[in-house]
Every structure is written in C-alpha cells, then in structure tokens.
C-alpha cells in the first residue's frame, strides 16, 4: 500500500464526498432560476402591484378576489372543460394512430412524419390557419359550402360550447401526432415473442391488446396522460388564435386570464391566479402519477 502523500491523493482521490460538491452548480442554477422566482412569485401574490409602482402587502386578498370573480370561475370551468375533452381525445387518437402505424405498409415513414408535422408548427399559426378555414361566413369551408348551394346559417363561434368543441378538435388534430410517437415507441419496445406466444396460445386480438399491449404501454400512457393534462390545463395559444377567448369571455382559459390581468396592471393578482393554476394542474398530475405508479408495480 502506498503512503498517503499529496501526489498519491491527487492520483487516487477519495471521491466519497465529492459527489455532493458536484451537485452545487445544478443547485445554484435551480435556486436561481426556479426557487428564487417561485418565492418571489409567492410573495408577489400577496401584494397589490401594478408591475411598476411599489408593491403593497395585502395578505390573502388576491386569493379571495379570485374566488369572488365570476369571470375567473367561468375560466376555470372553461379550462377544465377543455382538458376533459382534449386530454382523453388526444390519448385515444394517438393510441389508435400508433396501433395503425405500427404495422408495415408502403410509405409508413412518410405517413408518420405527416401526422407528426402539425405538432412542430406554432399553435398560434395553426389556430390562425384553422380560423381562416372555419371562419363563419368567410372561411374557406363556408365558401366551398356556398358554392355547392349550401348556405351555413349557424355560427359556431357564437356559442361557447360549439366554439370550445372546435378548439378541442383543432388541438387534438395538432397534437395527436406527438402522442402517437410516444405510443409508437412504447409499442415497439414490446418484445415480439410476447405476441408470438399469445398467438400460439390462441389469444384473440382483444385479449392481446388488453393483457399484453396495454400493461406494457403503461409507461407511455403515463407520459402521455400527464403531459396532456399539463398542456390542456395550461391551454393558451389555440384559444387565443381561434376565438380570442370570445364571444365576450365565453371561451377564455385561465392562462389567458392570467396574461390579461397581468397586462391590465394587476400583476399581484395575476401571480396569485398563476399559483392557483399551478395547484389546479398539480392535483390531477399527482393523482395520475400515483395511479400509474401503482399500475406499474402490479
């Protein structure tokens, strides 16, 4: 054994406690760009602040005001409604597309790319394009219908529910490709032997899906469900481009409300709403995580 000289310590360092120091840069960055803004945000939510004058501490008044504001409560309803429509549809559409495209056929790669393509386009641009297509009376669809002699008298944008349905469908159209890619990756990770063994045992397609595919897709399902819940509850661009939250505030989401309150000189209040939205998203995400973790263990 070599004596513990300084040269030896350099060549063979005792790295037992070094790992702690290696985490320091990451911790500094995390504190600087996450913990500090978060704590500032929490503090700001307890103030009346317009964004440029001196903030005034008002305790929980912003939170109370939120639950007394009928527009804010309707925005929660809109946001949850959108998420309830969008998240399941995205998963169903993504899974169906993944199952279809997991088979071998000509131009499979091209079809996969085409289906994924909308996901890489900005939702604002996508929303604007869809508005040009679907705009009541003046959109491409309305003009084509007129040319074949059908005058569309109803205006989907005038009713909050029909406008919301269009927003959900456009959102599903845009992001189904992304969900599909994750499911495809999950499907391709299932060993082929499992399918072969099931076929040898005479398992039906339904049973193969239920007892082989679905359990092994749990990790992909977990990622998709959680990301779709987060994305849907924080929906912003698609609504802004398609309806701008209108008519009135009938399709406004909580994210848009936060932006408008902030720009309406209510920075303190909008920060409080942002924290409320954080918890609105956190609850279903934690619930889903718990559910899927339990599934994975079994």
């Amino acid at each position: 054994m070599l004596p513990a000289t300084s040269k030896n310590r350099f060549l063979h360092p005792n790295t037992g406690s070094w790992h702690r120091y290696m985490a320091v840069p990451a911790l500094v960055l995390f504190s600087l760009f996450f913990l500090y803004p978060l704590s500032r945000g929490v503090w700001t939510s307890f103030t009346a602040w317009d964004g440029f004058s001196t903030p005034k501490f008002i305790g929980l008044a912003n939170y109370k005001a939120f639950f007394q504001d009928s527009r804010a409560l309707r925005d929660i309803q809109n946001t949850v409604l959108f998420a309830l429509g969008s998240a399941p549809l995205l998963n169903i559409a993504g899974l169906l597309l993944a199952l279809l495209l997991n088979r071998t056929f000509k131009a499979r790669a091209t079809v996969r790319s085409l289906l994924y393509l909308p996901a890489v386009i900005s939702p604002m641009i996508m929303g604007s394009i869809w508005y040009l297509l679907l705009q009541p009376r003046r959109g491409l669809l309305a003009i084509l219908l007129q040319q074949i002699g059908y005058e569309a008298t109803s205006n989907w944008m005038l009713s909050g529910s029909s406008a919301m349905l269009v927003i959900v469908l456009v959102n599903v159209w845009q992001y189904a490709g992304m969900t599909m890619i994750i499911y495809l990756a999950g499907l391709q990770a299932i060993p082929i032997e499992h399918f072969e063994a099931a076929e040898l045992e005479g398992a039906s397609r339904g049973n193969i899906f239920r007892f082989i595919v679905l359990p092994q897709l749990t990790p992909a399902l977990k990622i998709n469900v959680i990301t779709n819940i987060i994305g849907s509850l924080a929906v912003f661009d698609a609504i802004l481009a398609l309806t701008d939250g209108g008519p009135g505030y009938d399709t406004e989401s909580l994210s848009i409300y936060i932006m408008r309150m902030s720009y309406g000189n209510k920075t303190g209040y909008s920060t409080a709403v942002a924290l409320i939205l954080f918890f609105i998203i956190l609850v279903p995400v934690l619930f889903s995580l718990k559910f899927f973790n339990a599934k994975e263990k079994t």
């Binding site: 964004g51 004058s53 205006n155 944008m157 009135g248 408008r260 720009y263």
Partner: protein, 426 residues
C-alpha cells in the same frame, strides 16, 4: 557603443509603450460614445424609425441609438418597467406611468413653440400642469364611407342618430347585398373604439375636453345613469343589429375582414381611424379617390356630430436617463421639419408642427372640413389604464350576442369594469 545600446533599448521600450497604449487611447475614444435606448410600438413606422436612427447616428457618431420595436409594446413596457429597465425614449405613455414619475418634465423644451396649442393642451398633465410627453401628430377617427355610393344615393353627413340610421337604411334598400355598416368584432378593440368614439365622445362633448379629462381622472362620469350615455349607446347598437344594418357576422369578422369588405365595396361604411386608409388603398388602389370621411352622430339626442381629433405619435423621456443631452439631441433631430414631413406622409396623418406641410392622405380635404365643422373629441388618455379597448369591446360582443337583459344592464356592466379598473389604478 554603450550609449547606442541604451538608445536602442529606449526606442524599443517607447515603441512597445506606444503599441500597448494605442488601443487604450482608442478605448478612451470609445468611452465617449453615449448609448440611448428608443422603444417603440408603432408597427407602421418600423422601417422609417430604422432609417432615421441610421441617419441620426451618421450625423451624431458619438451617440448610439438602440432602437427596439415591439408589436405588443404597451404590455412589453410593463415587463421592462417591472425589471427596472425604463427606455430612454419611448412611444408608450400612460397616465399611470406619468403619475409614478417615470418620465422627464419636458415643459421647458423649445419644440413646444412649433406645436399646435391644442396638441400641447392634450399633452399637459392635468395633475401637475406640466408636459411629460410630446405628440408630433394628430390622428382622426370617424366614419369612412364609399363616396360613389353616397353621391349616387344623395346621402350627406348625418347630423343626428335618426339621419344616420336613415342613411344606412337607404344603402340597404338600394344595395340589399351590401353591408351598410361593417363591424370587425372578433378583433374586439375595433368594437372598443365604438365606445371610445360614440360613447365617451358624448361625455367629452357635454363636459368639454378639459372638463371630461378631469372627470375621467376623478371617476366622476356616471356611465350607468338611467337613460344615460351607455344605455343610449347600447340601444343604438341594438337598433342597428335588429334592423340588419350591420353585418350578421359582426362578432366573428376580423379587422382584416372589415378592411377587405370596405376596399372591395361589400361594405359601404366603417367606423375607424385614419390608420386604415393606407391599407384600404393597398388592397384596392382604385379606392384612393373613393374614400369619404365623415363624422359620427351622437347616440344621445340633442348633441352635435363628432370627429375624433386627438394627439398621436407620442414620445416621452425617462426621468432617470443617464444621457439627457443625447436623448434631447435625438428628439431635436426627429422633430426637424423635413423629418416630420416624411413621418407624417409615412403614417398618413397630419403633423402637429405648425411648420410642417405634408401631403399625408387622400382624405386630407375631408379631414380639414370635419375638424372645422364638427365637435372635436380626443382619445380618453385619462381613462383608467387597466381598462383596455379590448375589454370594452368584449362587452359589445356580449351585447350583440344578446347576453344582456337590457341596455341598462349593459350600462351597469360597463360601470362595473370602469370602477374596477379605476380602483386598481388609484
């Protein structure tokens, strides 16, 4: 020989010192350069501003202007202010910013002698009597109409609401396929301008410009008064809707649709500001000689027709600028008559400088006629800054959608959002 060596060493040393010190000298020269920031939200003058900054820097090589344009400038500046970055020069000015002491007092600047007194009045802060902003132009808003159709049907500027409705009905009767008055309500600010022009205009006519500015500051106007301004305004709009004198897709059509409809002849009238003229001519150059410009009638009986004639193209200087001299040199350059002439022609709006004669728009003659014939109203710069035309436009979306039980309820709702914005600002 020894002396020679010594001299040689000395010359090498001097050469080295010169080589080392030269860049330092250059750095010293660089240190005299002054950087100023110029923040603008005017989309239509981005090229013009860029060009002028370039010209200014050529004339003033020691001053560097960092020009920044933001489409959503009124909101972006709030983010800048929140992080303590007040631009040296900005085109975004609100009463709140003035109240918070963000801007420099420009009252003693020599350029005021060249600016129209009415514009100087509109630039004067009512609370202090000082000028913290300077406007270089005037903008106007009113009803743009298809001259040819108006002439053909023998229509003239409506002097009251009844005549206005009669004009629209005459258009509807003669041209059932055309839209008498086109609204682009998906872009809710266009509807918000209806309140700004037609409703706030009534208060401004009733109280006078200084009186209404003070009343707005003091929250002294009762918008929800029974049979008051807002109730009459709502009744008027509902009358247009019920008589099919506005487009059936008034809530879902966009500002672009509005311009296209007017340019193509589908729409006979639109309520807009002068900024729309250039786009209409771009869409249909034949419209250059066919755009008429008229006043809007009062929605409350017994008052005169009005035209918006307000200060435009505003500049303010940061109260904490580190380079006030450089900033004022930049403003002096921008305010030169030939520079302002080109600005006026680029924006298509008249100059507020008395020594600038520009060919700013094909509606120049109509605009002069309107200013001289009708009641001039200003923009509601003293309204609470948290109350945007976007918010007020949404109330009209709901009104046209039939969400309010009565015009009185609409008036109450308007009062509510006004009061809420006022409470936030004060």
């Amino acid at each position: 020989m020894k002396k020679k060596t010594y001299l040689g060493k000395l010359s090498v040393l001097i050469t080295m010192l010169v080589v080392v010190l030269l860049p330092l000298g250059a750095q010293g020269a660089k240190a005299t350069q002054t950087d100023i920031s110029y923040f603008s939200g005017r989309v239509e003058t981005v090229e013009w501003d860029t060009q002028q900054v370039e010209n200014f820097e050529k004339l003033n090589p020691t001053i560097k202007v960092e020009y920044e344009f933001q489409k959503d400038a009124s909101n972006v500046i709030k983010v800048k202010l929140a992080s303590g970055q007040v631009p040296d020069v900005t085109t975004v000015v609100t009463q709140d910013f003035i109240d918070n002491g963000l801007f420099m007092d420009l009252s003693d600047q020599p350029f005021w002698d060249r600016i129209l007194p009415s514009v100087k009045d509109l630039c004067t802060d009512l609370k202090t009597g000082k000028q913290y902003k300077v406007a270089t132009n005037i903008t106007m808003g009113g009803l743009f109409y298809n001259k040819q159709i108006f002439k053909e049907l023998g229509l003239k500027d409506a002097q009251n609401w009844k005549e206005f409705v009669a004009n629209l009905e005459a258009v509807k009767k003669a041209y059932p396929n055309k839209t008498p008055l086109f609204l682009g309500g998906k872009d809710s600010w266009t509807l918000g301008h209806l309140i700004e022009f037609w409703a706030h205009g009534v208060a401004k006519q009733q109280l006078g410009i200084p009186g209404s500015r003070q009343a707005f500051l003091d929250n002294a106007v009762r918008w929800d008064a029974p049979n008051g301004i807002m109730e009459n305004f709502a009744k008027a709009l509902l009358e247009l809707r019920d008589k099919h004198l506005i487009n059936s897709d008034a809530i879902t059509a966009t500002y672009d649709n509005q311009k296209e409809a007017f340019a193509s002849g589908e729409a006979v009238m639109i309520n807009q500001g002068m900024w729309v003229v250039g786009d209409i001519i771009k869409l249909n150059p034949k419209m250059e000689t066919n755009i008429g410009f008229g006043p809007f009638p009062s929605v409350v009986a017994g008052l005169k027709p009005m035209v918006l004639s307000s200060e435009d193209s505003v500049y303010a200087v940061s109260a904490t600028t580190k380079s006030p001299d450089a900033v004022l040199t930049f403003l002096d350059y921008l305010f030169q008559p030939e520079v302002q002439k080109s600005f006026s022609e680029t924006r298509g709006i008249p100059s507020a400088f008395v020594d600038v004669d520009a060919n700013w728009s094909p509606i120049k003659d109509d605009a002069t006629r309107l200013v001289n014939s009708y009641v001039n109203i200003n923009f509601s710069t003293e309204a609470p800054s948290g109350l945007s035309v976007d918010d007020t436009g949404r109330l009209i979306q709901k009104l046209l959608h039939g969400d309010y039980a009565s015009p009185a309820q609409f008036a109450k709702e308007y009062q509510k959002i006004w009061d809420s914005a006022y409470a936030t600002s004060n």
